[in-house]
Amino acid sequence: MSDVALVSSPNVGIAKSGENKKYVNELTTLNLGPTHPATHGIFQNILTMDGETIIDSEQTVGYIHRAFEKIAERRPFYQITTLTDRMNYCSSPINNMGWHMTVEKLLGIEVPKRAQYMRVIMMELARIADHIICNSVLAVDTGAMTGFLYVMQWREHIYEIYEELCGARLTTNMGRFGGMERDFSAEAIRKIKHFLSEFPKGLREFESLVKRNRIFMDRTTGVGAISSERALNYGFTGPNLRATGVDYDVRVMNPYSSYEDFEFEIPVGTTGDTYDRFLVRGEEMWQSLRIIQQAMDNLPEGPYHADAPHYYLPPKQEVYNNMEALIYHFKIVMGEIDAPVGEVYHSVEGGNGELGFYLVSDGGRTPYRLKFRRPCFIYYQAFPEMIKGSTLSDAIITMSSMNVIAGELDT
């Protein structure tokens, strides 16, 4: 670390007024994390402080590294879906479906339109779940607890929709290669419609509490700003990049899962500061609602999964009564089906940026190499530059607004 150089530097602290002279060159090292309520996850920031000002910082990540890329080299493709759940656990359906689409690209499976629309609905719900957490926790970190408690019930509604579709809430393991494992039930449709009609009120209530709140604005405007050039050089994607004014969104640039059918806008910011990131996420939730509304209105009839018996688990009833279904069931579960040789890169717009999957298959039952492009890991390295010269409290809200999810940071 460079703190040795900093301590010996004669210029540090010189600008202080006369009565502080005896503290000149006295720097404090402060550990923010690994377990700290404001990091929302386990990672460490070692801050070198001159009084209240951060002079330098160093990040230590990897506290919850679980070797997903190594484990993936040992697992059949369908067992990797559960690993993707545990990356960005605030929006796991996006990770699941990004992985499914990667494998479908490799296998050449054509997904029916209804399944694509269902995926879009679930992915946009996941995006809303991710953004309400990030935005409301940002409000908590600035001292406003109320909004967080109000929007939590809307995340609960989203989790109930997940439950209807896959039975799980947080680590969803939703969908299969080729589509979804079950169709929308009447109850699921009722819950989605209820969410669509009621959530705007909740979101408006949250925004009326926070968005134009003078204290919140003073606290966040101009804090943790980054220019678009630096953000691009640092590999920013997602809302953090869009807050700097770059309209890069994978959903529009490389549409997947029928995103080209929907009409929505990409909100962009101007200054790339904490307040802009908050606003971009807030507006993205409205756009997600628009997409869900369009997908629900135009939800096509038809099958909810592709006819890909080698990869799509047959219904249980058929397994008991149909020889072929039993064979496929056994082969899929035991991972006895070899994938074709190939290299494929596929990316989706995750909750916090471009979530990419680079899959190298050598024709075996498992990937030869699987690299996850985790947006958090890539943009979090800009954090020292963003907080340099700011105060500790500003560093905390900058971190909060960047939406760093420890599970994704460390795989």
Partner: protein
């Protein structure tokens, strides 16, 4: 601006012995280059007036234990946001000296990506400002993503590959 144009331009600029292995994988152009060309190549692509590959999406290491002399690979994912074209550049280095020049001078984002590739594969990025492990503990004495390191405990008798179809 098609993949063919990019490939032709790169071959014309750097020569066929430096740009080879040109292929398309699912619409994505892949080229292979040599270790001494990678930095000028990335600078050329960055500054090119029409290509403008100015976004480094990802950098991945890979290990092929059977490819003698080309055991380790580094895979650069570039993206030209203006043209919305992606490009993959690969290079291979031998096991004895897995040394690749760093590209942190061009892309700040390569810093942690290169540290990750070093951490998992032991690929040395020469000139990197802070080439230490990132996700694993610092006193680890091996590079775990290399193929010779088994994921599971090799001494266990109850996990025989034949029984699990592996």
């Amino acid at each position: 601006m098609t993949n063919e144009q990019i490939a032709q331009d790169l071959v014309a600029k750097f020569g066929e012995d430096k740009i080879y292995g040109i292929m398309e994988n699912y619409g994505l152009l892949n080229v292979t280059t040599s270790v001494d060309t990678i930095v000028p190549l990335l600078h050329y692509l960055y500054q090119h007036p029409t290509f403008k590959f100015q976004f480094l999406t990802d950098l991945a290491g890979i290990h092929f234990p059977d490819a003698v002399g080309q055991e380790f690979g580094v895979i650069y994912h570039l993206h030209s946001l203006e043209n919305n074209v992606r490009l993959i550049i690969k290079l291979y280095v031998p096991l004895e000296s897995p040394k690749v020049p760093t590209i942190t001078g061009l892309y700040a984002t390569a810093n942690w990506m290169e540290r990750e590739a070093f951490d998992f594969y032991g690929i040395i990025f020469e000139g990197h400002p802070n080439l230490i492990r990132i996700l694993n503990v610092e006193d680890m004495d091996y590079h775990p993503m290399r193929k010779e390191y088994p994921m599971e405990d090799a001494t266990r008798q109850d996990k025989i590959d034949a029984l699990f179809g592996r």
